[in-house]
Symmetry: C2
């Protein structure tokens, strides 16, 4: 059994976000998806993102508004949300005081071409 804490992860800055990729845990042979922690600072929003992977997220702490498919959807700590393949999205932190921390798992749609590295 292994425990993972977003507050202890190695992270890097990407635009407005602080990102902790799960590659650091060496689970590529175990997990059938990629994963990351990311933090949207208080009062800020993520860059607009759009990618071929489906993405399932859980709100670890804070509260946000997900802008996707011309809709704004509020999410609270503990909520999950699923973004479809190629569904553009912006993650807004609704709080001006508390960081928004999210766990995301992402994977290519079934039947899609595998990446060049065969993973």
């Amino acid at each position: 059994m292994r425990r993972f804490d977003s507050a202890e992860a190695e992270t890097y800055v990407s635009g407005t976000l602080n990102v902790g990729r799960w590659e650091q845990y060496g689970l590529g042979d175990v997990m059938p998806f990629g994963a990351m922690w990311y933090t949207v600072p208080a009062g800020q929003s993520s860059p607009r993102d759009c990618h071929p992977e489906h993405e399932l997220s859980l709100v670890v702490s804070g509260s946000g508004t997900i802008e996707a498919s011309d809709r704004m959807t509020d999410v609270e700590q503990g909520n999950a949300f699923l973004l479809d393949s190629t569904e553009a999205h912006i993650i807004h932190n609704r709080s001006t005081e508390v960081p928004l921390v999210i766990f995301s798992a992402y994977w290519m749609p079934r039947g899609s071409e595998p990446p060049v590295d065969g993973q």
Copy 2:
């Protein structure tokens, strides 16, 4: 984009647990893993469980102690923990007042036989 809230899920009682399987969301063609919400009531523990799937969990709310491989590991709201295939485990709710709510994703190890239904 779809939002999921454990408090709004259809659940059933399984031993001491209240379980909300993600099959109710109809995502079998999208997700490369099974998923569930489950709640360990205040002051209680899950039945001992052991299964061939790897299992990645996130603590949605509450705090617990994971008993696995002869070790006790405390987990807090927001922590993730990964149980290996066939690693027996018991989930203890450390609180006598607050339910422990967990999101879990589970999948068969790479290279293992697919289930009979081909999923």
